[in-house]
């Protein structure tokens, strides 16, 4: 059984609803860190939310979250990966919306806003997982601009946002923008000593 990082839950108690969190992780602990962020948001703070999957297909994430006991039934997933896989969108989950490609950044934002409008919960979060996956498809300047828009859009709506990043693999200008615009930092980045 995977053990979640309790220090993250403690840190979340100090974060306000209009915060934007930079969630730094390493390449091997990204799922643990993501799960450690959303589990207390759902269970302790009774929040609903939207989880944007750019790194892995949503069905795979939902199955893994469920397996470790994170109840994601009330979370809407925006899947930017599965449309690129033949047959990837055929599954039993009803809480997934698909975006054709991670290059459709505005579509991701609009689908997220649409899902948030339907949320029954008063307090909501948005997790973007991850900047690194978006950086594969999007030019650096456009991604930096997008993150600026993304963070400010949700802050203005009092929606907690979290952006997952593996800092040593993130383009420097994008990382600099995250440092500048995010109000909080959850740092579980791993240092690899070779």
């Amino acid at each position: 059984m995977m053990e979640l990082d309790q220090r993250i839950a403690e840190q979340l108690t100090e974060i306000t609803l209009n915060s934007s969190m930079q969630i730094r992780c390493g390449s091997s602990n990204s799922f643990l860190v993501s799960a450690s962020v959303i589990e207390p948001l759902i269970n302790e703070f009774q929040m609903g939310g939207v989880y944007i999957c750019a790194s892995r297909p949503a069905p795979e994430l939902i199955a893994t979250f469920t397996e470790i006991g994170v109840p994601v039934g009330g979370v809407q997933f925006i899947d930017c990966v599965s449309s690129a896989l033949l047959g990837g969108t055929e599954n039993q989950y009803t809480n997934i919306s698909y975006v054709d490609s991670p290059i459709m950044l505005e579509s991701i934002l609009l689908k997220t806003l649409y899902r948030l409008r339907q949320m029954p919960t008063e307090q909501n979060f948005v997790i973007l997982d991850s900047v690194n996956a978006l950086a594969i498809y999007n030019e650096e300047r456009m991604l930096a601009e997008y993150l600026h828009t993304f963070i400010n859009t949700f802050r203005a709506r009092n929606i907690l946002s979290g952006i997952v990043t593996v800092p040593d693999q993130t383009p420097p200008s994008v990382l600099a923008n995250l440092d500048l615009y995010c109000t909080d930092l959850i740092d579980r980045g791993q240092v690899v000593i070779s």
């Binding site: 459709m104 609009l110 689908k111």
Partner: protein, 262 residues
């Protein structure tokens, strides 16, 4: 001191603003800084699949929700097919049609009523068509109107001068009735060098122009809307990304580093 107070009062006096028709469409009322000026005739030019029909129908639905009588003149597809397609959206309620708040007319039926069976229309035909539309507007008390599409209609008009006269007369008559109208135009390209209308004359005489099209981003088409012209309001002229959701149209500013249209 009294002079200063007078000057401050003068500066503080709000400028004259025209009454607005609140479209209720997510983003559009912000883009037009409060809605479309009442009685304006707006050209909605767009490429195929850009969301023209959904946007214009949503415009009518929001009017109907506020108790306004609305009319939709369908020239490109039969009304039955149109309603069947639009029913998938949660913003649409068939009851609005049943209650007579949204009135859908097939242009083909209207042509038959008027005996306009010729392949091309002359000035008399055009006058009788404008009169028929005006009569419908007056009889029902229509305050929001859509013609989808004016391009299909204009194909029957043999020259630019007649098209100009038709649109000018129609726009003037509808404005007099206090009817805010969207005239849909089909265009083949929404790029920087494109015409915003099919015949190139519509755009000059109407009060507003909204362009809808696609941005090709590495093979993926992203819908956009841009308000190019809107008399009577200080509006945004930026491109907005547009998404058709079950709740209707949603818009967000297009990323500046990704706006090159095809």
């Amino acid at each position: 001191m009294a002079m200063v107070a007078k000057l401050i009062a003068m500066l503080g006096t709000p400028q004259y603003t025209r009454d607005r028709c609140i479209t209720g469409i997510h983003g559009l009322d912000e883009i037009t800084r409060g809605g479309i000026p009442y009685g304006a005739t707006v050209l909605v030019g767009g490429t195929c699949g850009s969301g023209k029909t959904t946007l214009t129908m949503e415009f009518l639905v929001h009017g109907a929700q506020m108790g306004e009588a609305c009319a939709y003149f369908a020239a490109t597809e039969p009304s039955v097919k149109l309603l069947e397609n639009i029913r998938q959206y949660t913003f649409f309620d068939m009851e609005m049609v049943d209650k007579g708040l949204i009135n859908v007319f097939d242009m083909d039926v209207l042509y038959s009523w008027l005996g306009l069976t010729k392949a091309t229309f002359d000035r008399d035909d055009i006058n009788s068509l404008v009169k028929a539309i005006t009569d419908i507007v007056n009889t029902i008390g229509v305050t929001r109107l859509v013609i989808d599409s004016v391009t299909t209609l204009c194909y029957k008009i043999p020259n630019d001068q007649l098209i100009r006269d038709f649109l000018f007369t129609l726009g003037k008559t509808l404005a007099t009735q206090g009817c805010t109208s969207f005239l849909v135009a089909e265009i083949t390209s929404a790029g920087a060098k494109a015409h915003w209308s099919s015949f190139g004359v519509e755009e000059a005489i109407l009060d507003g122009i909204m362009v809808m099209g696609d941005i090709d981003r590495m093979g993926h088409l992203l819908r956009f809307l841009q308000v190019v012209k809107m008399r009577g309001t200080d509006h945004s002229r930026a491109k907005y990304a547009l998404e058709l959701t079950p709740m209707g149209v949603m818009m967000t500013p297009m990323l500046k580093w990704g706006v090159d249209a095809t």
